[in-house]
């Protein structure tokens, strides 16, 4: 896990410096003229003239001490820029995950139990369409419906009056992101259920006279849920992709939208720290999922 993150930091650092051109080039391009002396001064100020290994060392040693450097654009400490934006994105992510599980699992079970019936076909097409709709388009469509039927666009505020109001505001974009993820969960639940329903112990349960409901939900679903839990780890990565575009569509001041802005401005301190942050979240979530898997399934024991 640590090794992955160290490798990740090197990868991010190299990728961002792969191509010539840094923020001083962009700023001076925008100004229209280049005074080499001014440019050199700016580069020195931002530490861009140092050897690349030294730059990397500055970043990593700072990261270990919680010092993320200064954002180029606003010239404020990167921590102060990033930290306040995390809660919104975290709430949005949890809410989206909630939506995707609440819709994905039951619909997947229904689809598997009624395999090859019209309901199954309908749900399969629905889940495939969920994977096909870009979440930013879904977001735009939702906004359009709001304009048409309520006459306004829900505007996200930093300080909503009540928790309920905040939940109501966030649930709209969360539904747009969650729809896509619920499709993924639904497909996996379906195939996992189908696999389990063919097992011997299901036949045993049926032949001893257990009711179909009991077989489906008590015997089958419990065992089918194991792979579904794993996918929540993959889901974390999947959700972040959806959040990036959805926060942009709904104008939500979260970290995901901030990443896009920072990328456009080549604000290295922000981009490399944010991408690193995303990687840490994904790796930690996957680690926790592995642990949960071990608790849920006593047959699995990790050697180390």
């Amino acid at each position: 896990m640590i090794l992955t993150l160290v490798g990740m930091s090197i990868l991010i650092f190299v990728l961002l410096r792969l191509v010539p051109g840094n923020i001083s080039d962009i700023l001076f391009d925008a100004a229209g003229f280049v005074d080499p002396k001014e440019k050199a001064r700016l580069e020195r100020e931002l530490g861009l003239d140092l050897p690349i290994l030294t730059q990397y060392w500055h970043w990593i040693s700072g990261l270990a001490q919680g010092d993320l450097g200064f954002a180029y654009v606003t010239e404020r400490p990167a921590v102060e820029e990033i930290a306040p934006r995390i809660p919104v994105t975290a709430k949005l992510a949890v809410l989206s995950l909630f939506f995707s599980v609440v819709f994905g699992v039951p619909l997947g079970v229904i689809s598997a139990v009624r395999q090859n019936t019209p309901i199954d076909y309908f749900l399969r097409v629905l889940s495939l369409s969920g994977l096909s709709l870009p979440s930013f388009w879904l977001g735009l469509l939702i906004l359009m419906l709001f304009v048409r039927y309520f006459g306004f666009i829900p505007i996200f505020t930093d300080r909503p009056d009540t928790l309920w109001k905040e939940l109501a505001l966030l649930s709209v974009p969360a539904a747009a992101v969650g729809f896509r993820s619920s499709a993924l969960i639904m497909r996996l639940t379906r195939s996992s259920m189908l696999e389990v329903l063919r097992q011997d112990y299901i036949r045993t349960a049926r032949s001893k006279g257990a009711s179909p409901g009991s077989v489906n939900y008590e015997h089958a679903l419990r065992n089918a849920m194991l792979p579904v839990v794993t996918i929540i780890g993959i889901e974390a990565a999947f959700l972040i992709g959806g959040l990036i575009v959805t926060e942009t569509v709904f104008n939500i001041p979260g970290v995901a939208r901030f990443l896009v802005e920072a990328v456009i401005w080549r604000d290295y301190p922000i981009v490399q720290n944010l991408v690193m942050f995303i990687a840490i979240v994904v790796v930690v979530v996957n680690f926790l999922v592995d642990m949960a898997y071990m608790i849920l399934d006593p047959r699995i024991k990790y050697a180390d």
Partner: protein, 297 residues
């Protein structure tokens, strides 16, 4: 080993196969969703290839007088703020989408196959190092990876293809590696080795062809995510630049401002994206059912 004799398969399923047409009819009846997907994909490809013929306007020509014209007999799907015909832009956008998705998938597959084959066949420390690198790359969401790549390479059609293809590599390398691992131990590989074939020749001539079925399935699935990633990148302003008409950028240009006044600018490009991804997904699912008997449900 993992390739399937399709005629035998069809006969076993009770089809009397004589000639291509009845086989096609059988496949349509057996995989109706896949057939629908194939039709969508064919329409999409035709639109891209014949864009100059089927488009009614030049996708880049502007006309101030028809700014924001609603859909009608002249502008079938309306016109945008600059008076450009939405229908023609969507048709030409198919070209960009096709170029990016096929280009990125092909490039990603080529690199992924080489990396996966090497990693699986050679094993040892090569495998260890390659797998660690793939682990690292996979810890980043596809879009974030593509975003960072696109930003670092700069916006152009070519760079968008490269950015997406690199993000696709780990997935493909992983699948090819795992099938290579099991193929490596097969008797026919041992037999080839016994006849004195070089390792490279065994890997390329005997192992590689047997990984094709999962590769085709995976590649079709990647097409859809490549289209979506391109649309997302362009939507965020980091994908294919002007003057190419890209579906994602058509949406971002129209997004906030015209959502009230010109809904056709939001609806139609989105339908184009969704439908093409939907088609490739349907086709990919059917191919998986056909070529990968383990996944058959």
């Amino acid at each position: 080993m993992s390739t399937i004799d399709h005629d035998a398969e069809l006969l076993r399923a009770g089809a009397h196969v004589r000639g291509g047409w009845s086989a096609t009819r059988f496949l349509i009846r057996r995989y109706p969703l896949g057939a629908a997907g194939a039709v969508i994909v064919v329409v999409f490809v035709l639109a891209a290839l014949l864009a100059n013929v089927v488009a009614t306007f030049d996708p880049t020509s502007t006309n101030a007088r028809s700014s924001l014209a609603p859909p009608g007999s002249v502008y079938w799907l309306g016109a945008d703020f600059m008076g450009r015909d939405v229908y023609s832009r969507i048709v030409h956008g198919a070209r960009i989408s096709l170029a990016v998705s096929v280009g990125a998938t092909a490039l990603g597959c080529a690199v992924g196959v080489i990396v996966g084959l090497m990693s699986g066949y050679l094993g040892g420390w090569v495998d260890l190092v390659v797998q660690r690198i793939m682990d690292i790359m996979q810890a980043l969401p596809l879009l974030v990876m593509a975003l960072v790549m696109a930003a670092s390479l700069g916006p152009s059609l070519q760079n968008t293809i490269i950015a997406i293809s690199i993000a696709l590599v780990p997935n493909i390398a992983r699948v090819i590696r795992s099938s290579t691992l099991s193929l490596r131990e097969q008797p026919f590989v041992e037999a080839a080795r016994a006849t004195g074939m070089s390792e490279l020749r065994i890997a390329v001539r005997h192992v590689l062809p047997n990984t094709l079925a999962p590769l085709i399935v995976l590649a079709t699935a990647q097409l859809g995510s490549a289209i979506l990633t391109e649309a997302s990148l362009s939507f965020l302003g980091l994908g294919v630049p002007e003057p190419h008409p890209s579906w994602g950028r058509m949406l971002s240009e129209s997004a906030a401002e015209y959502i009230r006044t010109a809904p056709w600018l939001v609806i139609f490009p989105g339908i184009a994206i969704s439908l093409s991804v939907f088609g490739t997904n349907l086709l990919g699912d059917a191919l998986r059912d056909m070529l990968d008997p383990r996944e058959r449900t």
